[in-house]
Amino acid sequence: MTDPRSLSPLDLETPDKTFLDANELVINMGPQHPATHGVLRVILRLDGEKVLGLECVIGYLHRGVEKIAENRTYTMFNPYVDRMDYVAAVSNGLGYCEAVEKLLSVEAPPRAQYIRVILTELNRIASHQLWLGTHALDIGAITPLFYTFRDREEILKIFEKYCGARLTTHAFRIGGLQYEAYDGFESDVRNFVSFVKPKIDEYEELLTTNRIWLERTKGVGVISGKDAIALGVTGPVLRASGVKWDIRKAQPYANYKNFDFEIPTGENGDTYDRYIVRMMEMRQSLRIIEQAVAGIPEGPIMAKVPKVMKPPVGEVYHSIEAPKGELGYFIVSDGSTQPYRVRVRPPSFVNLQALDVMCRDQLVADVIAVIGTLDIVLGEVDR
């Protein structure tokens, strides 16, 4: 195994004066570029179209979320986490709420947990749909984007009905939920499940056996399971490399141990496998949602949590399986109402490290495909 850290860094100091005569070309992709998913800047060193190496420059969307946490109470910080991975805000909220609950040694009541699981899995589907649309768009297929956005809308409608917001939902509270599920929530979710199942087949129809899609994704951006683990890659990217690691199964949280679902894995660790894994994950999420809707228990939705939260002195690390990978919160409490330190382990940030390894010796077009397949959200990378 080649240690990914042994890859030579780019020599960016070399001035690039005579690019027409030189074999090597240093290209600055981003921060304004249609395919870098926000404000990622990638400096590419090319030999013709071959990528010799690349370097990511991040921080264009840095808002100091972790620092803000030190100046807010635990409750006040809750909405901020939604702004990190804004396409999967519910997952962010779940991770944070559970981390603080762990610190407070309380547990959300079962009814709250079931509703949390439903919303989180719906959000996973929404996130994967957005990924699929943009990823296909990067590879040149423009139509799937509109299909996925059309169907993602139905999920956002459910969110809107539940908590009033579509994107940055702030759906959960520390200790449970603020809102009881609205009338017709269950039938809405059931309708959505039956609505979206054939739609996923529709996406697959456009892409899965499409010759050009296969050529563009098979063998592109390969990363071995070992490399992925060494780089800390998690989520579908890791699972596509054949590593069966899903925190929902490995360290069950939020009632996930009660649900019957499978962890789809790939074999080759290429872009196509990552695509297949995510498609299968959407179907698994639907399975979880179906089970959860069928089994929502009656009862309270809020545990007994003090109005003014003063967790005992100590630290806690809690991670959940966000759509993009392991989303972890490390919270240090000094016994006051405000956290002493909050450190977020965002999956996109860690997965982005693998970009260089995955893109070496590939072509420029593959860099775009790999950025898409890593499914990064710059709000989460920069925080």
């Binding site: 027409l20 395919a35 509109f146 050009i212 077009a365």
Partner: protein
Amino acid sequence: MHALVQYIESYLSSDKTPGAAGNFFWATVYVLLVFVGLSIAVIAMNWLERKILAHMQVRLGPMRVGPHGLLQPIADALKLLLKEDIIPDGADKVVFWIAPFIVVLAAFTVFVVVPFGPTHAITDMNIGILFMLGVSSLSVLGIVTAGWASNSHYPLIGALRSSAQMVSYEVAMGLAVVSAILMTSLNESKTGTLSMIGIVQAQFDQHEWFLFKFFPLGIIAFGIFAIAMVAETNRAPFDLPEAESELTAGFHTEYSGFRWSLFFLAEYSAMIAVSSIAVTLWIGGWLRPFPNLLQGSTWDLAFSSVPGITFLLLGAICFYNTARMPKHPLFKIQTLGLAGFGAVLALIGLMMFLPPVRERVGDIFWFSAKVAGFMYLYIWYRGTFPRYRFDQLMKVGWKVLLPTGLALLILTAVVGMRAELLAQVKQVFQR
């Protein structure tokens, strides 16, 4: 006045193209007509592409500027003309300035030989198809100079990609064209032709579109051409030179305003140009469907009423949509506009039923309809396919299309000359 009418009448009954007749005046009129027609076609294509693509993608497309966005292309053109004209500091100004004109010139010049009908072409060269292939490949020069003159990375890569792509696919394209030209010579007199009009005439004489000749050889040749022509015009799924997600806009990244619109114009007229090559070579050019099988005055009448019916149908669609317009006073002008547009279309349709018009418009109509079919294919591809990667594109061009084209050429020759070959073989054995 009388002399003028006589002059026009004498032309209308002529059996030669103005170029072939050496008629400078009519040739000029034709050049203007083709230029205007092409510009209108590009404008219509702009609107149609956005609308059709939108409907493929569960959205509406332009709806605001004019009824159903009918005036959108005009608004776009105005916007482009009024935009600030930027030439980057480091650019080679002269070359930067000339490049779009080369592309446009190449794209428009090919229409000199496009046969819209047996006499409806600006001129009929005896090397028509060669002229077309030659001139249309000049546009690569404009693209390379555009990419180079921009003095920027993305345009440079786009230009390199584009030149490699166009040069590679021209080979496959040429082979497919040669096999079609070969088919023209397979008649009783054994005389082939390179003239565009001659090629269509040969299809008429042989009672067969070359698409179906020597089944499946004709279809394969057409298939090769149909793939190569998409690559040749840099359209999806071969739109690497302007791959938006990779190179922002490829060779015309640094272009804006009027110059950019020239590239746009050139792209669409190049699409129409290669489509008309395909139509001429394989789909019988201006010939209506079944020109030999369904002969006779009844069939002639039936087919000659198709253009009128088509326009009436388009008018009817407009009227139907007028009825569906929102009944709010804000939409009054738009509703009236749509109704007016429908009325114009219907009027054109009615005019096409007049005997003198009906007899003359058929050729142009069938030619345009076939080209329009290709244009729809272009849009369909764009809505369906992802983009090829550069090495894969080259692989398809050199390793798939080129060998197939070569084999096809030989096979066409063998099949076409089978009687002679058999005779020779017999002679050898008799000896």
